[in-house]
Symmetry: C2
Subunit: 182 residues, 2 copies
């Protein structure tokens, strides 16, 4: 498959991707061996570009760190008309219906996409547009926050490609969409 929409995300056992204060501190509670990136580097190497929602973009901008991406980043927003000077050249704003947005990104020869952000992932899933999910589960129940998954019109089956355990505590499941999704 030359086109692929992939998810690479961490959740709590109860399926939250940020806590009730939109915080991410729980992601760092388990000390990870230096150099252990839980497959993130290898994953980033095989995508052509990222597509994220506006909220995720703004969240990343709020972190006190350098811009973390080497690959092109598309930000899907129907409200933003431009990004601040600091992000010009780093991100490309796109808007509109998902399939049209994808066609535009594919026309730039960015075919393998890292889809990021809870709302955007939910929109993609609702249209059966996610081909692959790598879900890293932290051993915590957050009890509230932003959910990774939402309502979908139909069930979708996946095939487990691999399940690994990092640092004895963190389970990472790699799923690909099954051909016989019903």
């Amino acid at each position: 498959m030359n086109k692929m929409n992939s998810v690479f995300i961490a959740t709590s056992i109860d399926g939250y991707i940020s806590d009730r204060n939109e915080g991410l501190d729980w992601l760092n509670k388990i000390k990870v061996t230096e150099g252990e990136d839980m497959g993130y580097g290898a994953f980033m190497n095989r995508v052509d570009a990222l597509l994220m929602g506006r909220r995720t973009f703004e969240k990343i901008c709020s972190f006190d760190m350098d811009w973390p991406y080497e690959k092109p980043v598309y930000v899907l927003s129907n409200t933003l008309s431009e990004v601040s000077e600091a992000y010009k050249g780093k991100v490309h704003l796109v808007k509109g219906e998902l399939k049209a947005v994808l066609a535009h990104i594919h026309s730039k020869n960015h075919l393998k996409l890292y889809i990021d952000g809870g709302q955007l992932i939910q929109s993609f899933l609702a249209k059966n547009l996610i081909d692959e999910m790598i879900i890293t589960t932290m051993p915590v129940l957050l009890g509230g926050g932003v959910r990774l998954f939402g309502h979908m019109p139909e069930e979708q089956w996946f095939t487990l490609v691999k399940s690994t355990v990092c640092m004895d505590q963190i389970v990472q499941n790699h799923y690909k969409r099954s051909a016989d999704s019903i």
Copy 2:
């Protein structure tokens, strides 16, 4: 620990324990080798009794099968005053506040309990009363239905005891509550 409240349950990737029609057909979509019970038998052997909510009890009664439990079964219901003739002697109705219900069950020397049913599990978790969870994840997004987890007042950390893969497709994670749950 001589007292233990345990969960042993199957969910979808998106955390549902029954589909939007309260159906469980998705649990049987993956053919399981005969004799493979994914640890259920060993788990049942080490509990003293089950405690389930009324809805779960009624669901089990609706199945066209013999009563599936050899261990004593307590059904927590604040509305049921008696069970039909077929279930007399098989189930014990209990009612009231969780800690009082537990004290009553413990007084019968039933200390290791299998807590079953989404709503009851949520009530137990909200009071930080679940010691252990064995969660079996089917590789499907149901997109709607009855959720395993709900709102909790505080986050709770668990320790991953074991993660196993059954039939190459089904991931089973065994968690114990961490001492340092915050």
